[in-house]
């Protein structure tokens, strides 16, 4: 029954996105309700996946322990002496991705509700929104690099239009900037993807190709070992029989690399003086670093946020940034663990820089939305710090932080949206003493701000705490880096509370005078629904963190051990050779 869940998650919104195109433009409520109900179905399905998820199975580099797996041949080409090209429709979840699927479904529903007051070109908007709903989930469940890349790029496209058409005044600038940045990032990923494709074979398909079995299910692990041994010793005579693959899981097994190929772990080719697999790690890192974003590749983010319409900001901060973090874990760290170990200090350093730099910029921002965008940069720095630690605490903390930030940043951007909807102004200096005019709104803002600055009892605290514990326990990070990272906690309190004091307390005053005073009404029902449900989620995951830690625990433990194994590859001796 649960066999096709992931496909349903991907294709229902895709079908709806096409379906919407056939409805006349003036039926705006249809669009809204279709989108909302599709996203609700997605949430329901994601809940089913979450509830049926078996936390005992590890996944990561073990293809047999992924769950809800669907795998069919998609594109197969016999390229003669170049071997066979194989692209699969291969999706599945493990402890590293399940939570992000759930998060996406939650945020997409909130985004759909928040899209209610889109004013123009409804058909295009909702069609693109549904396309985005499909590709986002696709990104988190794809286990074939080609498929992943396809979803990844198809996320970019609707995003570009959604910012560029429905955005603020400088929307075109922001959209182009966003597009170029991410595109440059994707090119780095593409290069490595092709490199990997050339170097890696799928032992199962190769066995079939060699005539050792007739279908996947017949290929035993013994047979796989046999093929891998044949590959290592040159026992496979004909290159025609090698099946090159984009299978991410196959790429994690060093035995699947063709000897002498470019990215083979023992390759003695040097690129820029370092091993090609380290270069590949850095390329992938840059690609996803743009997405996360990591300072200094972050400047698209404030602009994109400031110009994007509220629901798109919510998606951008709530989900799209997480794909950067997820990409690090699933692709960069899992496929190139040696790079993860070798560059742990660099990743940690960039994390610390992001934390402090983002926080300082938030402190200097005059635009509320820009302030929150920079706070995202700062919070994502903790993710990097946790990842770099390569400890179970750090990685768990990083994934937790991804989830928690998804919820809380969605909440924060909705808060800005409330104000922007009323006055079309989000300058911090233009408001004072809003508490007396909008008491409920103020309460929600206080909750959201305190949750974001990491007050215990909210999810943000747990994420930051464990990334920091990981950083202090790590053998790869200097303690001073972690200590500087802690500065982010103080700065976080500073910019959030300063904003709170300036905008909400004191005597009521606004730049807009009388007219704003009329416009500034307290929250309506729809806004309350969104804000309160997100705030409740923030509290729930803060008080019951095991809801998130439990599903990921086995996978994270396995992942940490898996990456640590790459310690045996010693680059210094390799360089001597």
């Amino acid at each position: 029954m649960t066999q096709y869940l992931l496909s349903l998650l991907i294709f229902i919104p895709l079908a709806a996105s096409v379906f919407i195109l056939f409805i006349p433009e003036e039926k705006t409520t249809y669009f809204k309700f279709i989108t909302l109900s599709v996203n609700l179905i997605q949430l329901l399905l994601a809940m089913v996946v979450y509830l049926h998820f078996n936390p005992a199975l590890t996944g990561v580099s073990n293809p047999d322990s992924f769950q809800f797996v669907e795998r069919t041949d998609w594109i197969s080409l016999q390229l003669g002496s170049l071997g066979k090209l194989s692209i699969d429709y291969y999706v599945g979840v493990d402890g590293l991705s399940i939570l992000l699927v759930l998060l996406s479904a939650i945020v997409l529903v909130i985004g759909a509700i928040s899209s209610w007051n889109i004013q123009t070109k409804h058909k295009g908007y909702f069609s693109l929104y549904l396309l985005l709903s499909s590709t986002i989930i696709g990104c988190f469940v794809a286990l074939d690099f080609f498929l992943f890349y396809l979803f990844f790029e198809f996320m970019l496209l609707p995003m570009y239009f959604l910012i560029g058409i429905w955005g603020g005044i400088r929307r075109e600038y922001a959209a182009i900037k966003f597009f170029l940045y991410t595109l440059v990032g994707s090119i780095f990923i593409l290069i490595v993807m092709i490199g990997l494709y050339i170097s890696v074979i799928d032992p199962v398909e190769t066995a079939i190709e060699m005539g050792l079995a007739s279908e996947r299910s017949q290929v035993t692990s013994v047979l796989v070992k046999q093929v891998q041994q044949g590959l290592a010793t040159g026992g496979i005579s004909s290159t025609n029989e090698l099946v090159h693959t984009f299978d991410v899981v196959a790429m994690m097994d060093a035995a699947n690399y063709i000897p002498g190929s470019f990215l083979h772990k023992a390759s003695d080719v040097l690129l820029f003086g370092i091993s090609p697999s380290l270069v590949a790690f850095l390329c992938i890192f840059i690609g996803f670093a743009v997405k996360l974003p990591v300072v200094p590749l972050h400047t698209w983010l404030p602009d994109a946020h400031v110009e994007a319409p509220t629901p798109i900001s919510v998606l951008l901060a709530g989900i799209l940034l997480k794909i950067g973090g997820y990409g690090f874990i699933r692709i960069a760290y899992s496929i190139f663990p040696e790079g993860a170990l070798h560059y742990a200090w660099l990743v940690a350093l960039l994390g610390v820089i992001s934390i402090v730099y983002g926080a300082c910029n938030a402190l200097a921002s005059h635009d509320l939305k820009r302030m929150i965008a920079y706070s995202s940069v700062s919070h994502m720095g903790f993710v990097l710090l946790g990842l770099a630690s390569l400890t179970a605490e750090g990685i768990s903390g990083a994934i937790f932080q991804l989830f928690s930030h998804g919820i809380l940043s969605a909440l924060l951007f909705l808060i800005v949206g409330v104000l922007y909807d009323r006055t079309h102004d989000k300058q911090i200096e233009n408001y004072r003493g809003l508490a007396s005019k909008m008491p409920v709104y103020t309460s929600v803002v206080i909750i959201a701000f305190f949750a974001s600055l990491g007050l215990p009892g909210f999810s943000g605290f747990i994420g930051e705490l464990f990334t920091l514990i990981g950083a202090f326990k790590s053998n790869y990070i200097a303690k001073w880096m972690a200590i500087i990272g802690m500065l982010g906690l103080v700065l976080g309190a500073a910019y959030f509370l300063w904003t709170l004091q300036r905008m909400f307390f004191g005597k009521f005053w606004t730049q807009g005078g009388e007219s704003w005073q009329v416009q500034l009404t307290d929250l309506d029902g729809r806004e309350k629904l969104m804000l309160v449900s997100l705030a409740i989620l923030g509290v729930v995951f803060g008080i019951f963190p095991f809801l998130l830690f439990e599903p990921m625990a086995q996978s994270v433990g396995y992942f940490v051990d898996f990456v640590q194994q790459a310690k045996d590859i010693n680059f210094d001796t390799q360089l001597v050779k």
Binding site: K177, A392, F472, F505, F546
Partner: protein, 669 residues
């Protein structure tokens, strides 16, 4: 069987008494506006039940029982985090203290806050505070303690900024939270380092004495980190600047949070993690405490605001407690925590009574004056006799006059400090207890000055407001709901509650039990000396205050006065040192973002566009030119050949003939 039942009963009672204020918070937060007046009474009833339970728990625990209860919370990596309750003599005593003062303050507040727009919200926040405080007291591991720690910070923030239309309240609450956050971050650092070192956060394990606590670098850092939590929360040097500002909150809040309980939590924390602190850390703690005690006392000397003076006095007294912890006088420091909680809460509530009474006058006269300015008071002993007596008793206790509780505890700390200095060898270490003695003198002076300014002499307000003298309006003592708490606290500020011997509490019920054997026992050779000296200092101080106050002929050093009024200029120094640099730094990073990174990106895209234009030109002129040329060439050739094929048969014949001719010629040749 019987034993099991008692354990269950006690731990459940402790959990329940902590849960009650949280429920009250939830109820009042969400539906408080509908309850209006009754919300105050609901809170009082809840606090009474909590107090009763605390007393029961106390009697089951005191003097030497330990109860623990833990449930599995979540697991990360290999370590399982638990929600653990730890009930021993220390937490039992703190429970009673917190719930008792919380109850008294809530009774008092029902009257004090009457008519406030956000009456129920006020009690909601008090509930949140009480809950968080119980969380600190009862927690059996450092993580849970930290959670409570931050939550009291939140409730303190909400209550300082309770009157949020007031700009200074908003500023003060923000500063309080941020400064506390600095300390909390240090605290968290300490917790994480302890966790990394010992792989456990369980307090019972950590403080069992089985762990190797040496003077290694990271353990010292961890100890200092834990102490950072105390520095901020207990307003120690150099982070004490937030506490005077916190007086912008309602006065009962100042009594409960910023005098009796929350600010003392730092001392409680030190007591909890005491075995983890190595000698280096303890020395730092002792020095910090002594400096704070002295700086606070100096700052209190010239204050004119009735609450601000008390705030500096609190800082100074907290300095004593911290110093006590640092010198190893563990029990004495906790003893002072308790005595101070009673007399300082009494002082604040009495000050609140004075302010309340003057506010009434202000209200009735439809005028405005600063109801907290002591220069406008005077002679209130006649109009507010009850408040006066309570203020006098608790004030003398603060001043450290023999027969009052403050004398007993301060005495014990100073004795401990002296014997500590003796063991240190070098005479310079005697500076620590000496600072304590000097502060004791200063304390007596400022207490005497305040008593005289507020209650002595003639009422000075009519000089400012002549209409007050002519009208029927007069200052009246406060109602019973406010008198009751003040009275009870005043009675508890006298010696006999803690020890039947008025000059030595070492054998009183409290100090004998709370002291730990590992800490240095107070050396009795110093005890007589301390009793006599501090008694004399207190009397001298009060006498000095009596002579100097109101006597304009005695010059006051301007330098000292400015230093005192500006709290050692700490705020200005920090503003220049940290706030300015911080702002500058954030401007720089903002500049980097806008000017540097974005410019690079913009130029990169501009150069891309330029490149694209060049390519387009090449495309148009060269590539297209080539293509066009090829097309042109093809056209010409086509035209040429087309012209050949004119369609006339005769000419075809002619061409054929011509061709044939060439062929023939070629063959022949």
């Amino acid at each position: 069987m019987q034993e099991d039942f008692i354990i269950e009963f006690v731990t459940w009672s402790a959990t329940l008494l902590a849960a009650i204020p949280f429920f009250i918070f939830c109820i009042l937060f969400f539906v408080g506006t509908k309850l209006s007046k009754t919300s105050g009474w609901l809170a009082v009833i809840g606090a009474s039940i909590s107090f009763l339970l605390a007393v029961i728990v106390f009697f089951y625990t005191w003097p030497d029982k330990v109860y623990t209860q833990s449930i599995h919370w979540f697991t990360v990596g290999e370590y399982t985090f638990t929600l653990k309750l730890l009930l021993d003599k220390l937490s039992a005593a703190m429970l009673v203290l917190v719930s008792f003062i919380s109850l008294l303050v809530q009774i008092y507040s029902t009257e004090y806050m009457k008519g406030d727009k956000r009456y129920s919200r006020y009690f909601a926040y008090l509930g949140l505070f009480t809950f968080s405080m119980f969380c600190i007291v009862l927690s059996g591991n450092l993580l849970l303690l930290y959670i409570g720690w931050e939550l009291v910070g939140l409730s303190s923030y909400l209550l300082i900024g309770f009157w949020r239309e007031k700009t200074e309240a908003a500023l003060a609450s923000r500063n309080a939270f941020i400064i506390n956050r600095i300390g909390d971050t240090g605290f968290l650092l300490g917790i994480i380092l302890v966790f990394a070192q010992f792989n456990t956060l369980d307090l019972a394990t950590l403080t069992s004495g089985n762990l190797p606590v040496d003077n290694s670098f990271w353990l010292t850092v961890a100890g200092i980190g834990l102490f950072c939590g105390c520095i901020a929360k207990s307003a120690q040097f150099p982070l004490q600047i937030w506490l005077p500002g916190a007086m912008a909150g309602p006065t009962p809040v100042s009594a409960l949070i910023h005098a009796a309980t929350m600010v003392a939590a730092g001392v409680f924390l030190l007591a909890r993690v005491f075995p983890l602190l190595n000698t280096d850390v303890l020395t730092v703690i002792a020095i910090t405490g002594a400096i704070t005690a002295f700086m606070g006392a100096v700052a209190a000397l010239f204050q004119t605001d009735i609450k601000r003076l008390l705030a500096f006095s609190t800082i100074s007294q907290l300095g004593y407690m911290v110093m006590g912890m640092g010198v190893g006088a563990y029990g004495s420091a906790l003893f002072h925590l308790f005595t101070h909680a009673f007399f300082k809460a009494c002082l604040f509530l009495s000050a609140g009574a004075v302010i309340h009474a003057l506010h009434k006058v202000e209200h009735q006269l439809h005028t405005h004056f600063d109801a907290q300015d002591m220069r406008l008071m005077g002679g209130l002993r006649k109009t507010m006799p009850f408040t006066f007596i309570c203020y006098l008793v608790s004030g003398l206790s603060l001043a450290g006059l023999p027969l009052f509780s403050g004398f007993l505890s301060k005495d014990a700390i100073l004795t401990g400090a002296l014997s500590w200095a003796e063991t240190k060898g070098n005479f310079l270490w005697y500076l620590i207890p000496d600072l304590g003695f000097i502060s004791a003198l200063l304390t007596a002076i400022y207490v005497g000055r305040q008593l005289i300014l507020v209650f002595g002499g003639e009422f000075r307000l009519p000089h400012l407001l002549p209409q007050l003298a002519t009208s029927q309006i007069a200052v009246k003592d406060v109602p019973f709901a406010m008198q009751l708490p003040i009275g009870i606290l005043a009675i508890l500020s006298v010696f006999f509650f803690f020890s039947l011997n008025p000059v030595d509490a070492a054998y009183g019920w409290f100090l004998t039990t709370i002291s730990v054997k590992t800490a240095q026992a107070a050396d009795h050779s110093w005890h007589t000396f301390t009793v006599i000296t501090s008694g004399l200092l207190a009397i001298t101080g009060l006498a000095l205050a009596y002579v100097v106050t109101g006597n304009t002929r005695i010059p006051r050093p301007a330098f000292l006065k400015n230093l005192s009024l500006h709290n050692w200029y700490l705020e200005d120094i920090y503003r220049i040192l940290f706030v300015r640099t911080g702002q500058l730094f954030s401007k720089v990073t903002n500049g980097i973002d806008k000017k540097l990174l974005d410019t690079i990106i913009d130029y990169a895209s501009i150069s891309m566009v330029v490149l694209a234009h060049i390519f387009a030109w090449i495309d148009r002129n060269l590539v297209d030119g080539l293509v066009n040329f090829a097309a042109y060439l093809a056209g010409r050739i086509g035209a040429l050949t087309r012209s050949v094929q004119g369609g006339r048969v005769q000419s075809y014949f002619l061409y054929t003939l011509f061709g044939l001719l060439i062929l023939v010629v070629w063959i022949i040749l």
